[in-house]
């Protein structure tokens, strides 16, 4: 686990539409950047049933692509493939890049606004960790969240807020990350959301991307905390996109005109 790793990733997202699409856009944040301990050896995005419109870096320096779904189609496939070399930095990501000021990450967003539950958790952790340093305090917070919110799929969705998930007592990595971010902000730390990939030995087939939090600690810079797995990210983690919460860093965000349902299917392989 302490070693550097070379990971091969194949991430395929398929949308099936009930009725032919009139007009739809998909915003993709699916391209990892070199830096912060990872080197992207090669990467490509293939799109079937859509056309790339523009490519740019967003306000959090995420490589972003805007795709238009081909009018009249009933299916779009987005396939990201590539190889990334990851150096284990024990979760310490370090310096802040880009123009987004650190103070922006101290502010609550709609998904990470602290309600009574989050505030209560934060004040509890503050008391329990009065003698600890920042890293130890935040690991304590991470454990406290996992003990209150069990990992369970299908109970929450991409619109669930941190406060809702903490109250419900179950959630997925997105919810764990939001609670971590919300509580860390209450404790005075800048915090951000990371969407990315995780190599899981023995699980070649995954059905969702991963998410974790990074907290700014004076002297260390950004430090990662994966609440769902109770650790700080190591050589198995590939950072893809970041932002104040999920909606800033979402791998795919779409908008569609017209009626009819859509069906989403994700197939993900992260291999050594």
């Amino acid at each position: 686990m302490g070693d550097d790793m070379k990971l091969t990733i194949t991430h395929k997202t398929t949308y099936d539409y009930d009725t032919p699409v009139h007009y739809a856009l998909q915003k993709l944040r699916l391209i990892p950047r070199t830096g912060h301990g990872q080197t992207v050896l090669n990467w490509q995005t293939e799109i079937n049933g859509g056309e790339k419109q523009v490519t740019f870096d967003d306000q959090f320096v995420n490589h972003t692509e805007l795709v238009k779904v081909t009018p009249g189609t009933t299916r779009i496939e987005i396939i990201s493939t590539g190889e990334v070399e990851v150096h284990n930095q024990n979760g310490v990501i370090g310096q802040h890049n880009g123009y987004a000021p650190l103070w922006l990450f101290e502010e609550a967003t709609a998904m990470t606004a602290a309600g009574n539950q989050i505030r209560h958790l934060a004040s509890l952790v503050r008391q329990e960790t009065a003698d600890l340093d920042d890293v130890a305090r935040l690991h304590h917070l991470s454990k406290a969240i996992l003990s209150r919110v069990t990992y369970e799929t299908g109970q929450t969705d991409s619109t669930t807020t941190a406060e809702m998930a903490l109250s419900a007592g179950h959630g997925v990595c997105q919810d764990h990350s939001h609670i971590m971010i919300a509580a860390a902000r209450v404790l005075g730390y800048p915090a951000r959301y990371i969407s990315g990939y995780l190599f899981m030995d023995g699980y070649d087939q995954q059905d969702a991307t991963h998410a974790w939090a990074e907290i700014w600690i004076t002297g260390l810079g950004w430090v990662g905390f994966d609440v769902s797995n109770g650790i700080s990210p190591d050589g198995r983690y590939v950072r893809v996109a970041t932002g104040r919460d999920y909606s800033d860093a979402a791998p795919i965000l779409g908008i569609r005109q017209g009626v009819g349902a859509e069906n989403l299917h994700v197939s993900l392989q992260v291999q050594q």
């Binding site: 007009y23 856009l25 915003k27 419109q53 523009v54 490519t55 740019f56 870096d57 967003d58 306000q59 320096v61 972003t64 805007l66 238009k68 880009g98 123009y99 987004a100 000021p101 103070w103 922006l104 101290e106 502010e107 104040r244 965000l253 908008i255």
Partner: protein, 492 residues
């Protein structure tokens, strides 16, 4: 954007003093009769028959009705379409006076653009401690989606409407910098058109600087800010309107027509080949510059409010990729926020190294405890405004308010002091209007229109003069019963 002439409202001065003793009359000086810029006009007026003038005044109204300038008054649903009253006595500004205003406005607008670039990039002004961070960080007008964006040509505020008031011979104050989507320019143009038709003889006697080239200048200015990468031979400009139900729809249609640009709505636009394009009978036409009269929040449902039906999904992505110019840039509201306003002199100094040429109205920031306690004990003399409010809504005009109103406002102010600023009631200058009994002084303000392109700042000589038609009233907002006047800047 919600109303034709948003923003400027100042106090209400009462107290039984005689008019001449309190207010600066721009036309008449007690001792000497008409002041210099008004001499020719006043002589002419003295020789006119009052009845004829009043008939002209009625003609002017008919003329306006015909061309259909209408305006929805908020909170008055039954009066869907109402005419903004027009007064036929012009407001006249001397060349020397205008030259100083022009220098001051240009300095201000350049500083605002430098500020906007900085606040969405390195934020040097915060690092230097010249304005408090909380002014930006807690501010809904700050638009994170603009961080790191480089607008084509470096222009953020292509069109500004700087609201000025006058209190004396040489005393002009900036009341507000409207740098989101200022409106009212159509009135400036129509007022002049009307005056030219009614009183052609006056324009032969006086050298009045023309305003009629505004649409062409706007077109040229916007074209100069077009992205360099366009596939079009000449920049294509379109005006995006929320639609016919918007209170300023007339102005949107009017400007598009006068500029020779397309008037478009959300459903006319799509992303095509990485650019924003409008549907035409010949297929999709790429747009280079979108003069949007839709608020930031509604501009892009993929980026901002997902429920918006007025915007263009994905336009922020096209913008960030450098493939379109949005005028004005999103996020400019952070520069005309009322809490930030009081720091404008510091902002001007920080980016230009110069002292501000135009004065700011002294402002108490209620977020500061000392200021708040002063404001609370002087509410009856002050104007208190909401930091994010506009159009004269949600404010307290102390001298005009009842005890009960003051008490109710005090409770709101105590509950959320950071939401408010306070200013003294200014003794606004007056310009006469044509009343039943002849000339009668009424309070005025002035909104000059400023166009910013990569190489220059152009200010149309004059602007929109708004006048409080009610005797003694200082509220000039068209939404609250104000009228307008033609504004004449004299040539040298």
């Amino acid at each position: 954007m919600r109303q034709v002439a948003c923003g400027a409202t100042v106090g209400w001065k009462t107290g039984g003093m005689t008019h001449a003793a309190t207010f600066f009359d721009e036309m008449l000086s007690g001792a000497e009769g008409a002041r210099d810029p008004y001499k020719v006009y006043y002589d002419w007026f003295e020789n006119e028959d009052l009845k004829r003038l009043r008939r002209k005044s009625v003609d002017a109204e008919t003329f306006f009705r015909k061309i259909g300038i209408t305006f929805n008054v908020y909170g008055q649903e039954e009066a869907d379409e109402r005419l903004i009253p027009f007064d036929i006595v012009p407001r006249i500004i001397a060349a020397r006076e205008w030259a100083k205003l022009e220098r001051g406005i240009e300095q201000r607008v350049r500083a605002i653009n430098a500020f906007l670039y900085d606040i969405y990039h390195g934020q040097e002004i915060l690092r230097a401690g010249r304005i408090p961070r909380t002014l930006i960080s807690g501010n809904e007008a700050f638009c994170p989606e603009m961080i790191g964006v480089n607008p084509p040509g470096g222009v953020y505020t292509h069109i500004c409407g700087v609201d000025l008031v006058r209190t004396g011979e040489d005393d002009f104050y900036v009341l507000e910098d409207n740098v989101r989507t200022p409106s009212g320019v159509s009135y400036m143009l129509e007022n002049r058109e009307t005056m030219l038709q009614m009183f052609p003889e006056l324009f032969t006697q006086l050298k009045v600087r023309p305003v009629s080239s505004y649409p062409q200048t706007l077109r040229r200015s916007l074209s100069a800010s077009a992205p360099g990468s366009s596939p079009n031979a000449a920049p294509v400009i379109a005006v995006l309107t929320p639609g016919i139900h918007n209170s300023a729809y007339f102005e949107h249609a009017f400007l598009a027509d006068q500029m020779g640009a397309e008037l478009v709505e959300s459903h006319d636009l799509q992303i095509v080949d990485g650019r924003v394009a409008m549907r035409t009978t010949q297929g999709y036409q790429t747009i280079d510059v979108l003069y949007r009269r839709v608020d930031d929040d509604y501009l892009d449902p993929l980026t901002f409010n997902p429920d918006s039906l007025l915007g263009v999904p994905g336009i922020m992505d096209v913008y960030r990729a450098g493939n379109i110019t949005i005028a004005n840039a999103p996020g400019t509201g952070i520069a005309d926020d009322k809490a930030l306003y009081s720091y404008l002199p510091d902002i001007i100094e920080f980016y230009t190294g110069e002292q501000a040429i135009l004065k700011n109205v002294p402002t108490w920031r209620c977020s500061e405890p000392d200021a708040l306690s002063y404001v609370l004990s002087n509410l009856k003399d002050l104007v208190v405004k909401e930091v994010h409010g506009s159009g004269g809504y949600g404010m307290l005009v102390g001298p005009a308010a009842s005890k009960k109103e003051i008490a109710a406002f005090e409770a709101k102010l105590r509950a959320k002091p950071a939401n408010y600023i306070a200013q003294p009631t200014l003794s606004l200058s007056t310009v006469p209007i044509l009343s039943k009994s002849g000339l009668a002084p009424r309070h005025v303000d002035l909104r000059p229109f400023v166009l910013v392109s990569p190489n220059k700042v152009e200010i149309t000589p004059g602007g929109l003069t708004r006048v409080a038609l009610k005797k003694g009233s200082l509220v000039v907002n068209s939404s609250q019963g104000g009228g307008t006047k033609d504004t004449w800047v004299l040539g040298d």
